[in-house]
C-alpha cells in the first residue's frame, strides 16, 4: 500500500516549469530515493508535498487523503514531516529546546515532551550537545538536529532533503545507520540525496527526475546503469564517447 501518492504534479514559477506532470508513489515502509541533477526540481517536489508551495495541477494523497489544500503545519500533524536542505535550526535556543518544539506537537505536557526529546536526542547521538545553543553546532550536528526535530513529531513519512550533503564519509556512514534504524522502526522515508553512497546503501527504490520529469525508476543499482540517467548527469557526449 502506498503511504504517499502523487499524480500528474505540475508546478511552474513564472515561465519556468519546475515540476512537469510528475507521478510516483511512496510505499509504506520503504525508503525511496529522489535523485536528479541540480535544478531538476527535487526540492520543489518536496515543497509541494509538504504544503509550502501550491502546485498548478495534480493530486497529492497522503494515507488516502488529499493534502493539496492543506497548510504545512496541518500536513505535519497528519504525520508527514520535512527537513530543509539549508538547515533551519532555532539558533538561539538549546538543542533540547529545539527538539522539544517537535515533541510538543504530539504531547501537551511539557514534562512528557522533554522526556521524549531526551529519548530522541539520545537516539541521534546529540546528548553531549543537548544544552548547547543550536547556532553553536557544526554543520554535521546541525543536520542531526534537523533530523531529531523532525523525528520528534512522530512522522509516518519522513522527507529528507540532502541530509548527507557536506558530510565526510565517516559521518555519511553513521547517518546511513541512523536512517536505517529509523526506517526499521516503521517510518517510511522519501529522500533527496546527491551523495550516491547514501542513495545506494539506503534506497529500496530510486526515482530520477530531470527538468521536472521522471526519467527513470527502479532499484538503485539498475537505475544508475540507465542511459537516460547517465545522460542527464553527464551529458550526451559521455554516452557517445562510451559507445564509440
Amino acid at each position: 500500500m502506498a503511504i504517499l501518492t502523487i499524480q500528474h504534479l505540475t508546478k511552474k514559477f513564472g515561465g519556468l516549469i519546475a515540476v512537469n506532470d510528475l507521478s510516483f508513489e511512496v510505499e509504506t515502509g520503504e525508503i525511496l530515493g529522489l535523485i536528479g541533477p541540480n535544478g531538476a526540481g527535487k526540492t520543489t517536489v518536496f515543497s509541494c508535498i509538504s504544503g509550502f508551495e501550491t502546485p498548478e495541477s495534480g493530486k497529492i494523497d497522503f494515507q488516502g487523503q488529499s493534502i493539496l489544500k492543506k497548510l504545512p503545519f496541518e500536513i505535519c500533524r497528519l504525520g508527514m514531516v520535512r527537513t530543509f536542505q539549508i538547515v533551519k535550526p532555532f539558533p538561539a535556543i538549546s538543542v533540547l529546546d529545539n527538539v522539544m518544539v517537535g515533541a510538543l506537537l504530539r504531547e501537551n505536557s511539557v514534562v512528557k515532551a522533554e522526556k521524549e526529546a531526551h529519548r530522541i536526542i539520545h537516539f541521534v547521538g546529540l546528548e553531549k550537545m543537548k544544552d548547547t545553543e543550536a547556532k553553536g553546532l557544526p554543520l554535521p550536528l546541525r543536520k542531526r538536529l534537523e533530523l531529531a526535530r523532525a523525528l520528534a513529531t512522530k512522522p509516518g513519512l519522513l522527507l529528507l532533503d540532502e541530509v548527507m550533503a557536506g558530510l565526510n564519509p565517516t559521518e555519511v556512514d553513521e547517518l546511513i545507520k541512523l536512517i536505517q534504524e529509523i526506517n526499521r522502526e516503521g517510518v517510511s522515508i522519501l529522500m533527496i540525496e546527491h551523495v550516491m553512497r547514501g542513495v545506494m546503501a539506503l534506497s529500496h527504490r530510486v526515482i530520477v527526475i530531470n527538468y521536472g520529469q521522471k526519467i527513470a525508476e527502479g532499484k538503485p543499482d539498475v537505475v544508475v546503469q540507465n542511459e537516460a540517467v547517465i545522460e542527464a548527469y553527464l551529458g550526451k557526449e559521455f554516452i557517445n564517447a562510451k559507445s564509440a
Partner: protein, 320 residues
Amino acid sequence: MNRTYILLGLILAVLLVLPLMLSKYMLGIFIMMYYYAYLGQSWNVLTGYTGHISLGHALYVGIGAYTSVFLAQRYGLSPWIGMFAGGVLASLIGLFLGFLGFRFGLRGVYFVILTIAFAEITRLIVSHIDALGSFTGIFLDFNPSFKNFQFKGNIPYYYISLGFMVMSLIVVRILETSKAGRFMVAIREDEEAAKALGVNTFKYNMFAIAVSAFMTSLGGCFYANYIFYLHPNTMFGMSLNIELILRPIVGGLGTLFGPVVGSFILTPLSEVSRAYFAKGGMEGLHLVIYGIITILVVLFMPKGIIVYLKKWLKPILSKE
C-alpha cells in the same frame, strides 16, 4: 535554582518595605520604574518572545487608559472593572492588526509600519472625538477611594504598580515554560521551520499579540489614574511607543527579567537626569544621554545587560 528564588524573595521583601523610608519624589521614581518594567514586559511577549517588532504599543496603553476613564466618567464603572473592558478592546484591536499582518504575510519592516500606523490613526481619531476630550484631553476628577482607583499620596500606587510588575513576571514565567511559549519562541527563531514542525504559527502569533495587547492596556489604566490627565499625544504618541521598548531592549529582549533590569537602570536615569538638566535650562538633554546609553548597550551588549548580570550572579546562585 533555589538560591535564585531566595534572591528574588529578598529583593521583593526589600521593595515591600521600601516605602517606609522613601520620600514622595523617590516613590514616584519607583512607581515609574515598575510601570515601565510592566509595559516593557507586556511588549516583550510579542516582540521579545515571538519576534514581531511592534513600534505601536502606545496604542494599547491609550486604549486601556481611555476606555477605563470613559467608562468611569460616563457610567461610574470602577476602573478595576473598566480596566478589563479596556483589555478586551485592546486585544480585539490587536487581533485585527495581527490578522492583517499575519494572514497577509507582512513581516519585518512592513509589520513595524502597520503597528505605527494603527497607533497614529487611533491617536488622530481620538483627537477628534469630543466625548473623549478631543485635543484638550481628559482631566480626571480627584475622588480618592479604592473603587475609583484613586488614592491620596503615592504609597498605594507604589504597591499597585509593584503588584502589576510582579504579576507580569509570573504570567510571562508561566508562558515561557508552557507549550504556547515554546511555540512562540520557535516562531521567533524560524517561522518556516516552526510550520514544518506542525506549529500553527498563525494561531500562536494571534495569541501572542492578544496577550501582549491585553497586558499593555492594563498598564494604561493604571497610568491614567496615577497621572489624572489623558492626552492623545502622550497616550498614543510616538514618544511613548519608543519609551516603552527601550527598557526591554537595554535589559534583554525575550528574557524574563530583561524588561525589569532595563527599567531599573533607565527609568531612574531618565527621571533624575531630566530634573537635573531642566534645572540648568537644558531640557531634553536627558534624552541625549538616554540615546547614548541605548546605542552603547546595543553595540557592546546586544543581548542586553541581563546576560552580564547573570554571569556576575552565577557564582552566588549556583552554590547549593
